[in-house]
Protein backbone atom coordinates (compact mmCIF):
# COMPACT_ATOMS: atom_id res chain seq x y z
CA UNK A 1 0.00 0.00 0.00
CA UNK A 2 1.26 3.54 -0.72
CA UNK A 3 2.53 5.28 2.39
CA UNK A 4 2.05 8.88 3.49
CA UNK A 5 5.03 10.11 1.47
CA UNK A 6 3.82 8.41 -1.69
CA UNK A 7 0.43 10.11 -1.39
CA UNK A 8 2.07 13.49 -0.73
CA UNK A 9 4.33 13.03 -3.75
CA UNK A 10 1.22 12.31 -5.84
CA UNK A 11 -0.51 15.39 -4.43
CA UNK A 12 2.46 17.58 -5.43
CA UNK A 13 2.58 15.90 -8.84
CA UNK A 14 -1.13 16.65 -9.37
CA UNK A 15 -0.77 20.22 -8.15
CA UNK A 16 2.14 20.80 -10.55
CA UNK A 17 0.08 19.39 -13.42
CA UNK A 18 -2.78 21.71 -12.53
CA UNK A 19 -0.40 24.67 -12.74
CA UNK A 20 0.73 23.51 -16.19
CA UNK A 21 -2.66 23.37 -17.91
CA UNK A 22 -4.84 26.06 -19.45
CA UNK A 23 -7.74 25.96 -16.99
CA UNK A 24 -9.90 28.12 -19.22
CA UNK A 25 -9.67 25.52 -21.98
CA UNK A 26 -9.52 22.42 -19.77
CA UNK A 27 -11.65 23.41 -16.80
CA UNK A 28 -13.11 19.89 -16.64
CA UNK A 29 -9.67 18.35 -16.20
CA UNK A 30 -8.70 21.18 -13.89
CA UNK A 31 -11.58 20.30 -11.55
CA UNK A 32 -10.64 16.63 -11.67
CA UNK A 33 -6.97 17.27 -10.91
CA UNK A 34 -7.89 19.49 -7.96
CA UNK A 35 -10.17 16.79 -6.55
CA UNK A 36 -7.50 14.11 -6.83
CA UNK A 37 -4.98 16.45 -5.23
CA UNK A 38 -7.30 16.82 -2.25
CA UNK A 39 -7.94 13.07 -2.21
CA UNK A 40 -4.19 12.42 -2.06
CA UNK A 41 -3.89 14.67 1.01
CA UNK A 42 -6.75 12.79 2.67
CA UNK A 43 -5.17 9.45 1.79
CA UNK A 44 -1.82 10.66 3.14
CA UNK A 45 -3.49 11.52 6.44
CA UNK A 46 -5.24 8.15 6.56
CA UNK A 47 -2.00 6.34 5.68
CA UNK A 48 -0.37 7.78 8.81
CA UNK A 49 -2.93 5.70 10.71
CA UNK A 50 -2.46 2.59 8.60
CA UNK A 51 -5.72 3.16 6.73
CA UNK A 52 -5.79 2.64 2.97
CA UNK A 53 -9.33 3.01 1.57
CA UNK A 54 -9.81 1.18 -1.71
CA UNK A 55 -13.05 2.88 -2.75
CA UNK A 56 -14.71 6.28 -2.56
CA UNK A 57 -17.40 4.80 -0.31
CA UNK A 58 -14.80 3.50 2.15
CA UNK A 59 -12.99 6.86 2.11
CA UNK A 60 -16.30 8.68 2.63
CA UNK A 61 -16.89 6.53 5.69
CA UNK A 62 -13.56 7.56 7.21
CA UNK A 63 -14.14 11.22 6.36
CA UNK A 64 -17.47 10.93 8.11
CA UNK A 65 -16.13 9.21 11.22
CA UNK A 66 -12.78 10.90 11.86
CA UNK A 67 -13.08 14.34 13.41
CA UNK A 68 -10.11 15.93 11.63
CA UNK A 69 -11.45 14.87 8.24
CA UNK A 70 -15.01 15.70 9.15
CA UNK A 71 -13.93 19.33 9.51
CA UNK A 72 -12.92 19.46 5.87
CA UNK A 73 -15.65 17.23 4.50
CA UNK A 74 -17.71 19.95 2.81
CA UNK A 75 -14.60 21.21 1.00
CA UNK A 76 -13.71 17.69 -0.07
CA UNK A 77 -17.30 17.20 -1.28
CA UNK A 78 -17.19 20.43 -3.27
CA UNK A 79 -14.11 19.19 -5.12
CA UNK A 80 -15.70 15.77 -5.65
CA UNK A 81 -18.91 17.28 -7.05
CA UNK A 82 -17.14 19.25 -9.77
CA UNK A 83 -14.87 16.34 -10.63
CA UNK A 84 -17.73 13.85 -10.92
CA UNK A 85 -19.81 16.25 -12.98
CA UNK A 86 -16.86 16.67 -15.35
CA UNK A 87 -16.09 12.97 -15.62
CA UNK A 88 -19.54 11.45 -15.80
CA UNK A 89 -21.70 14.15 -17.39
CA UNK A 90 -19.70 15.71 -20.22
CA UNK A 91 -19.37 18.20 -21.61
CA UNK A 92 -18.90 20.15 -18.39
CA UNK A 93 -17.06 23.42 -18.56
CA UNK A 94 -16.56 25.57 -15.47
CA UNK A 95 -15.70 29.23 -15.16
CA UNK A 96 -12.20 30.26 -14.21
CA UNK A 97 -13.75 31.79 -11.08
CA UNK A 98 -15.16 28.39 -10.13
CA UNK A 99 -11.77 26.72 -10.61
CA UNK A 100 -10.16 29.43 -8.51
CA UNK A 101 -12.72 28.77 -5.76
CA UNK A 102 -11.98 25.06 -5.90
CA UNK A 103 -8.25 25.67 -5.62
CA UNK A 104 -8.02 28.69 -3.34
CA UNK A 105 -10.93 27.94 -1.02
CA UNK A 106 -11.70 24.24 -0.95
CA UNK A 107 -8.33 22.64 -1.68
CA UNK A 108 -6.64 25.27 0.44
CA UNK A 109 -8.90 24.46 3.41
CA UNK A 110 -7.91 20.82 3.11
CA UNK A 111 -4.23 21.78 2.96
CA UNK A 112 -4.49 24.17 5.89
CA UNK A 113 -6.24 21.67 8.10
CA UNK A 114 -4.00 18.73 7.29
CA UNK A 115 -0.83 20.82 7.44
CA UNK A 116 -0.96 20.33 11.21
CA UNK A 117 -0.45 16.62 10.68
CA UNK A 118 1.39 16.36 7.39
CA UNK A 119 4.45 18.08 5.87
CA UNK A 120 2.45 19.89 3.21
Amino acid sequence: MPNKDSHLTQARHNAAFYQSIDIQKYSDWGATVLFYTGLSYVDAFLATHGIHPATHAKRNGYIHRINVLRRISSHYSALKSSSETARYFPPAMFSVQHLQNLEQTHLEQIRNTLRQYLPI
Binding site: T48, H56, A57, G61, S73, A78, F89, Y117
Partner: protein, 141 residues
Protein backbone atom coordinates in the same frame (compact mmCIF):
# COMPACT_ATOMS: atom_id res chain seq x y z
CA UNK B 1 3.51 13.66 13.45
CA UNK B 2 0.32 11.70 13.71
CA UNK B 3 -3.10 13.01 14.64
CA UNK B 4 -5.07 11.21 17.29
CA UNK B 5 -8.01 9.57 15.61
CA UNK B 6 -11.20 10.78 17.15
CA UNK B 7 -14.10 8.74 15.95
CA UNK B 8 -17.45 10.43 15.86
CA UNK B 9 -20.10 8.31 17.46
CA UNK B 10 -23.31 7.70 15.59
CA UNK B 11 -26.66 7.39 17.25
CA UNK B 12 -29.59 7.10 14.93
CA UNK B 13 -32.05 7.87 17.74
CA UNK B 14 -30.30 11.18 18.38
CA UNK B 15 -30.52 12.07 14.72
CA UNK B 16 -34.16 11.12 14.54
CA UNK B 17 -35.02 13.03 17.67
CA UNK B 18 -33.73 16.24 16.15
CA UNK B 19 -36.45 16.19 13.52
CA UNK B 20 -39.83 17.38 14.71
CA UNK B 21 -41.70 16.93 11.43
CA UNK B 22 -43.48 13.72 10.58
CA UNK B 23 -41.35 11.74 8.17
CA UNK B 24 -42.88 10.38 4.97
CA UNK B 25 -40.83 7.30 5.72
CA UNK B 26 -41.92 7.27 9.34
CA UNK B 27 -39.71 7.12 12.41
CA UNK B 28 -40.75 3.57 13.17
CA UNK B 29 -39.97 2.54 9.62
CA UNK B 30 -36.56 4.19 9.82
CA UNK B 31 -35.82 2.41 13.07
CA UNK B 32 -36.89 -0.85 11.44
CA UNK B 33 -34.61 -0.12 8.50
CA UNK B 34 -31.73 0.61 10.82
CA UNK B 35 -32.46 -2.64 12.68
CA UNK B 36 -32.53 -4.72 9.50
CA UNK B 37 -29.28 -3.18 8.27
CA UNK B 38 -27.55 -3.55 11.62
CA UNK B 39 -28.67 -7.14 12.14
CA UNK B 40 -28.08 -8.29 8.58
CA UNK B 41 -25.24 -6.03 7.40
CA UNK B 42 -24.08 -8.27 4.59
CA UNK B 43 -27.22 -10.24 3.87
CA UNK B 44 -29.89 -7.58 3.36
CA UNK B 45 -28.65 -6.25 0.00
CA UNK B 46 -28.96 -9.77 -1.36
CA UNK B 47 -32.42 -10.55 -0.05
CA UNK B 48 -34.59 -10.26 -3.16
CA UNK B 49 -37.83 -9.32 -1.40
CA UNK B 50 -36.21 -6.82 0.92
CA UNK B 51 -33.26 -5.11 -0.72
CA UNK B 52 -35.18 -2.95 -3.18
CA UNK B 53 -37.77 -1.88 -0.62
CA UNK B 54 -35.16 -1.13 2.01
CA UNK B 55 -32.96 0.79 -0.42
CA UNK B 56 -35.81 2.85 -1.79
CA UNK B 57 -36.88 3.68 1.76
CA UNK B 58 -33.33 4.70 2.58
CA UNK B 59 -33.27 7.00 -0.44
CA UNK B 60 -36.63 8.48 0.54
CA UNK B 61 -35.27 9.10 4.02
CA UNK B 62 -32.35 10.97 2.47
CA UNK B 63 -34.69 13.08 0.33
CA UNK B 64 -36.87 13.81 3.35
CA UNK B 65 -33.81 15.20 5.15
CA UNK B 66 -32.85 17.43 2.22
CA UNK B 67 -33.89 21.09 2.39
CA UNK B 68 -37.11 21.81 0.56
CA UNK B 69 -35.62 23.89 -2.20
CA UNK B 70 -36.42 24.02 -5.91
CA UNK B 71 -32.70 24.12 -6.66
CA UNK B 72 -32.68 20.39 -5.91
CA UNK B 73 -34.02 19.15 -9.20
CA UNK B 74 -33.81 15.38 -8.89
CA UNK B 75 -32.39 12.62 -6.73
CA UNK B 76 -31.44 9.16 -7.99
CA UNK B 77 -30.30 6.08 -6.15
CA UNK B 78 -28.72 2.80 -7.15
CA UNK B 79 -27.21 -0.06 -5.25
CA UNK B 80 -23.86 -1.14 -6.65
CA UNK B 81 -22.46 -4.15 -4.89
CA UNK B 82 -22.60 -3.26 -1.23
CA UNK B 83 -22.57 0.49 -1.84
CA UNK B 84 -25.64 2.71 -1.84
CA UNK B 85 -25.09 5.47 -4.39
CA UNK B 86 -27.20 8.62 -4.27
CA UNK B 87 -26.95 11.41 -6.84
CA UNK B 88 -28.46 14.84 -6.16
CA UNK B 89 -28.86 16.99 -9.28
CA UNK B 90 -28.69 20.78 -9.04
CA UNK B 91 -28.21 23.25 -11.86
CA UNK B 92 -25.21 25.31 -10.80
CA UNK B 93 -22.42 25.12 -8.24
CA UNK B 94 -23.41 27.09 -5.13
CA UNK B 95 -21.28 26.09 -2.17
CA UNK B 96 -23.39 27.85 0.46
CA UNK B 97 -26.42 25.90 -0.73
CA UNK B 98 -24.51 22.66 -1.27
CA UNK B 99 -23.40 22.69 2.36
CA UNK B 100 -26.97 21.85 3.33
CA UNK B 101 -26.88 18.83 1.01
CA UNK B 102 -23.51 17.69 2.36
CA UNK B 103 -24.87 18.07 5.90
CA UNK B 104 -27.82 15.87 4.94
CA UNK B 105 -25.41 13.26 3.62
CA UNK B 106 -23.64 13.22 6.98
CA UNK B 107 -26.88 12.98 8.91
CA UNK B 108 -27.86 10.05 6.74
CA UNK B 109 -24.55 8.36 7.54
CA UNK B 110 -25.14 9.11 11.22
CA UNK B 111 -28.53 7.45 11.02
CA UNK B 112 -27.30 4.44 9.05
CA UNK B 113 -23.68 3.89 10.03
CA UNK B 114 -23.72 0.35 8.66
CA UNK B 115 -24.62 1.41 5.12
CA UNK B 116 -21.67 2.07 2.83
CA UNK B 117 -22.53 5.22 0.89
CA UNK B 118 -21.22 7.17 -2.05
CA UNK B 119 -23.05 10.48 -2.40
CA UNK B 120 -22.69 12.80 -5.37
CA UNK B 121 -23.88 16.29 -6.09
CA UNK B 122 -24.02 16.72 -9.85
CA UNK B 123 -24.28 20.06 -11.63
CA UNK B 124 -26.65 20.16 -14.61
CA UNK B 125 -24.98 23.30 -15.99
CA UNK B 126 -28.02 24.24 -18.08
CA UNK B 127 -28.28 20.94 -19.93
CA UNK B 128 -31.65 19.13 -20.16
CA UNK B 129 -32.56 17.19 -17.05
CA UNK B 130 -33.17 14.16 -19.26
CA UNK B 131 -29.43 14.03 -19.93
CA UNK B 132 -28.95 13.11 -16.29
CA UNK B 133 -31.09 10.00 -16.24
CA UNK B 134 -28.74 7.30 -15.05
CA UNK B 135 -28.92 3.78 -16.36
CA UNK B 136 -29.79 1.42 -13.54
CA UNK B 137 -30.61 4.26 -11.16
CA UNK B 138 -34.03 4.98 -9.75
CA UNK B 139 -35.41 8.50 -9.28
CA UNK B 140 -36.73 9.27 -5.81
CA UNK B 141 -40.10 10.94 -5.77
Amino acid sequence: MSAPLTIVSSLSSHVLASRSQVSPVGETAVQELAFIIAEFPTEWPRLPNISSTVTHSLARFFVWRLPEDPRIERVYWAFEGSVLKIWTIINQPDFEFEKSIYETQFRFMDAFPDVECDFSVIYRLGKPLEDFELEGATPVS
